[in-house]
Symmetry: C2
Subunit: 382 residues, 2 copies
Amino acid sequence: MNPHVLAIPGSLIREVAAKKTPTAIDLGLGEPSLLPNPAHFEHAMRYVAQHGVKYTQNAGDPALREAIARHYDYPGMHDAENVCVTTGSQEAMYVTLKTLLDPATDELLVVEPTFPSYVKMAKLEGVAVRGVTMSEADDFAIDAERIIAAIGERTRAIVICSPNNPTGRVIRRGEAEKLVRALEARGGEPIRLIHDEIYREQSFIEDEAYLAELYPHTIVTNSVSKSNALTGLRLGWIIGPAEFIREAIKAHAWVTSCADTFAQQVALHVFTTLGGVGEQVSWYREQRAGVVDALERGGVRFIRPEGSFYACMRLPDGVKSLDAALELIERHDVLAIPGGAFGASFDAWLRLSWVAPIERVREGIDRIARYIESRTAHAPVR
Amino acid sequence: MNPHVLAIPGSLIREVAAKKTPTAIDLGLGEPSLLPNPAHFEHAMRYVAQHGVKYTQNAGDPALREAIARHYDYPGMHDAENVCVTTGSQEAMYVTLKTLLDPATDELLVVEPTFPSYVKMAKLEGVAVRGVTMSEADDFAIDAERIIAAIGERTRAIVICSPNNPTGRVIRRGEAEKLVRALEARGGEPIRLIHDEIYREQSFIEDEAYLAELYPHTIVTNSVSKSNALTGLRLGWIIGPAEFIREAIKAHAWVTSCADTFAQQVALHVFTTLGGVGEQVSWYREQRAGVVDALERGGVRFIRPEGSFYACMRLPDGVKSLDAALELIERHDVLAIPGGAFGASFDAWLRLSWVAPIERVREGIDRIARYIESRTAHAPVR
């Protein structure tokens, strides 16, 4: 068997989530709790009744590719040829990394703490990968200086998830410009930026940066999963320079052939409905205000969410996140994700998702704050 | 960029298909022309209205995994743990090859002529791959002796597509038993058989073999694409020993995360409807009888289809299949696939799919037969 597959470890998140009880307050979920808009499905059903569900082209339905390109309207990436439709943003990122990086020579740089998927995909492909950790003192703000300083001889691409999972930090326009200036000042083959925009519709600051607006060597991955409560639909895309997309389509064709035609019709309806992509934005804004209020009342250290639907709370020094998460679910009936799942640099933190009804989220935050206080009062066990 | 991706060539099939006119008789299609049964979609719509489309477990909905395992009922592969649900049989095969084979040491053996996807996936992964060609004199019957003789030191797995695309040949029970006896007589780590069963519901002989019934180290890939006219739904699966499926799920989780929840509900309805998987079998049987009749009237050499929805016609010696396919579409307005797309051993053949209305298929076969006769009468150009 393939040693890279055998080496994939079990999931820390799953280990904790398996202990969830029926009464538990679930702040572990990585997906919206809203229901999707049925109008998108009704459109797809009408399509299927008329056309069946035949294969689309490998790269996706040309109308959907064009609708996506036009919606985001990134410079030099306006057209169908700039988009490859994929099985969710998971396959979008997998195909991007597989296409971009030569395992024999190239290195991927990952801005951390972040979703563990990028590092695990690179390892699965046998690609060298290195993390660059943002500063805990600065609440893990995405910091251009640190990223620039970490670029090595073999670095060919840098992954930035913004809004970020788990920290909820968003790269600011000023930081992005600083990063792009440094990349452009280098000679030789340009380093690619990969912007995972999966939480794009959950951004709550004014000066967030979209890297593809600033740097032509950017590749964007995204999906309708988080924006439209369609996680299980598995409909995502890659946006990038046409010469890159042409190669990515070849890899995509042998990995999954094409995305689900029904799901593509659902997405086409999202993109061709006025305000369709942002149809759930106001719910998240309101929910986020309640969450920030609850975190402030909690009286313990937290990261103010700039984006995504996560908030993070700091554990007392010496308390490991897995131990805390297990104690919380077993003794306080609240499920939060141990920060250690996102790398060693985040092992003093818990990630809370806040998509449950707001009273439940408030109650969960209160229980965690009381737990943190109780652990702070006593001497740590280790 | 990844040199394995850059090395993927353009598609010969696409080059020919691009020349199709609106009036052309299309015998090129690799997908059913029937419409799917709307009842399966109506079930999925009811599910979505109630539950939304949340992620399933990486390996798929446990109810669907169990329904698939029970339906095929292969020895030692009866349970949900023996199934991983995937994005079509394309991802099923991709994940199977990726999980099973160590690029550093292992070799894949492919029974040819066949669908080019297996060889291309292996090359994309950097895995050594070798073809073993069946005998043209025997109309490419799947021949255990030839396969056994081709097994090498490093062979770790053998792919057999049966019913086969393009030849329409099906491995017989006697041949399969001979192959399995030879594999079992070997010492050491067992060689895996990978059975691509995508055309399982289009089998027209009595003694077809299902390798997983005979050999415990078999891995099966399949989907609802061809059986239920659901090609674009991208819903497939891997069936295999639990210890293999556990590893395959890990690779699948990082490639696509999970299959589309909506599509999984469509498939669950197929598997839980009495006769659902075989609901289109009688149409194919009737269609096939008409096709065999037309081929016999045509008066030129063909391979009698034992399975799949393809038939193959022999070109005169010296006529290359790409030249013939281009001439047929340009001068005779009929689209057939050049056998060369399935390897050099099949370059004297054309593949015809026969899912168009039977009168159109008959007319297409007649035009091709007349073309072949005309080329036979004259001295070949080269």
